[in-house]
């Protein structure tokens, strides 16, 4: 019980830390891709920048429009942040540690419906954005929120469909099972390249990352769903985006890139705890790569137009996802029978 609580707190801190430094990384990556240097004033290489940003966010004036719905206005960022943080508990962060005789799994909870839990939490995240836009009592914020909601609902269909194909292969919804299966055989990316592509595209859309960052459109809607937010409430919205990005990267690594699996590591005969820790390090390297991918794409592609976004989602991605499910089903049938 106590190790679980410690692990939970550590997980929370790691998630927040990674998200905080993702904001720094984002600015650095953006700068490097634009031939600039980026933040380098606070501390060596600007490493204290996230702390300075945090202090700034907290010290700023916290403003609320007079006509805003008081409670919903508070609830919006809270839901966005909470749901973003809740997803991390079902992800297997590593193998089983040996703590002086007692086995300890580096995963807070392993429900049979692991991946469905992730989806449920992500879906509730939409409420955070929707409530924020609605409670502001500002038509631009509402527009932004509606865009965000319809975009996230649309892309969730494809995302779920690409998972269906994966579940056909794995036969389990538990994230732990999915990882263990990849440890035994090949990574899922080999079997599901199309599903991976669809999942990544949808993950971008779900995290409201460019090129799908329509909920925040400074040119058209002043700012989007968080137009009326200031201080740390705005900070929560922005921060939740980075937490989501971290969790998405973890989910992508887990589903398609073997999670904490390192090929051929088990054959080296290292002590179990060392193997487990190396596995966790490997998982974090995979996550880092995907966070970098998020930023890489953001600073490469321009934002979609709204009708293009909907066209892509409904006319291209969903048919492709259905095709993927069909192909996977046929392949599974030919190999294993019913």
């Amino acid at each position: 019980m106590i190790p679980t609580v410690i692990f939970l707190v550590a997980l929370l801190l790691v998630t927040l830390g990674v998200a905080a430094y993702a904001t720094y990384a984002e600015r650095k990556v953006a700068a490097f891709m634009q031939d600039r240097i980026g933040p380098d004033r606070a501390g060596p290489f600007g490493l204290l920048q996230p702390i300075a940003d945090g202090v700034k966010m907290i010290m700023k004036e916290d403003f609320m429009p007079a006509s805003a719905n008081r409670w919903l206005f508070f609830l919006g960022p809270a839901i966005a942040m909470t749901t973003a943080l809740l997803t991390g508990v079902v992800i297997p962060w590593g193998g089983t540690l040996d703590l002086g005789g007692t086995a300890f799994k580096l995963q807070v909870a392993d429900p049979d419906i692991g991946i469905l839990y992730v989806f449920a939490m992500v879906s509730i995240g939409v409420y955070g954005i929707m409530l924020g836009g609605w409670a502001s009592n500002n038509k631009y914020a509402l527009y932004g929120a509606i865009r965000a909601a319809s975009q996230m609902v649309s892309y969730e269909l494809t995302m779920g469909m690409s998972i269906v194909a994966l579940v056909i292969l794995t036969g389990s919804l538990s994230l732990n099972d999915i990882v263990e299966q990849q440890r035994a055989g090949l990574w899922n990316i080999v079997y599901q390249p199309l599903g991976f592509l669809l999942f990544v595209i949808c993950a971008f859309a779900e995290c409201n990352r460019a090129p799908f960052d329509l909920p925040e459109c400074e040119t058209e809607l002043v700012g989007g769903y968080h137009t009326e937010y200031s201080s740390m409430k705005l900070g929560f919205y922005l921060f939740a985006e980075y937490v989501n990005m971290f969790i998405s990267s973890a989910v992508i690594s887990t589903l398609f890139f073997g999670g904490y699996d390192v090929p051929f590591l088990d054959g080296l005969g290292l002590p179990q705890n060392v193997t487990v820790i190396l596995g966790t390090v490997a998982l974090f390297l995979k996550i880092t790569f995907f966070i970098f991918l998020f930023m890489w794409v953001r600073w490469t592609l321009p934002r979609f137009r709204y009708d293009q976004l909907m066209d892509l989602g409904w006319k291209s991605l969903i048919p492709l996802a259905i095709l993927n499910v069909l192909l996977t089903g046929v392949g599974y049938y030919l190999k294993n029978g019913i």
Binding site: V29, A31, M33, D35, R36, I37, W296, V297, T300, L301
Partner: protein, 197 residues
Amino acid sequence: MATPITQPLTKRSQVVSEKRMTLMERIYLPAIVKGMGITLKHFFRLRKATVKYPEQLRPMSPVYRGMHVLKRDEQGRERCTACGLCAVACPAEAITMVAAERKNGEEKLYREEKYAAVYEINMLRCIFCGDCEDACPKEAIFLTDRLVPTDYTRGTFVYGKQWLVEPLDPALRVDVSKRQPKAVAEFKKDRNFAHNR
């Protein structure tokens, strides 16, 4: 009725094609990968364009029009004779002055019998067009490569003589040779003109 133009007016005109995109173009992914290659190339490029401002200054054009200076002559006397031509030439009406008569014993301070007791430029109005230096017959006012410092209040932006007149110390004089064309410098040597004497 106007006859339709059959010939392109310039060589830049292009025939617009409504060719449908090929499948490779329509799935976008090759183009996206190509674009990501370009950004990655820049990511690893070592030469960065950043100028670290307070420590490192961006080289400015030699004829940059920044904050004004009121020049002194070789003997350290103020050149300005408060004729008001700069104020008249100023399209933004940023310059005001009060003229005064030189008293006995002040010959070392002012070059002519009349001088500007008060000379003010409102830096918020100034558009840095350089008409004042063109209008000045005494080579007294120049725009320099110095920048007008920023501030939080409007009041401090009316610059009086304590900001504008260059220091007496020859080492601290403001170099305006870049803004003084050769023809002007030659002209100044012509002692036939009263104001060059």
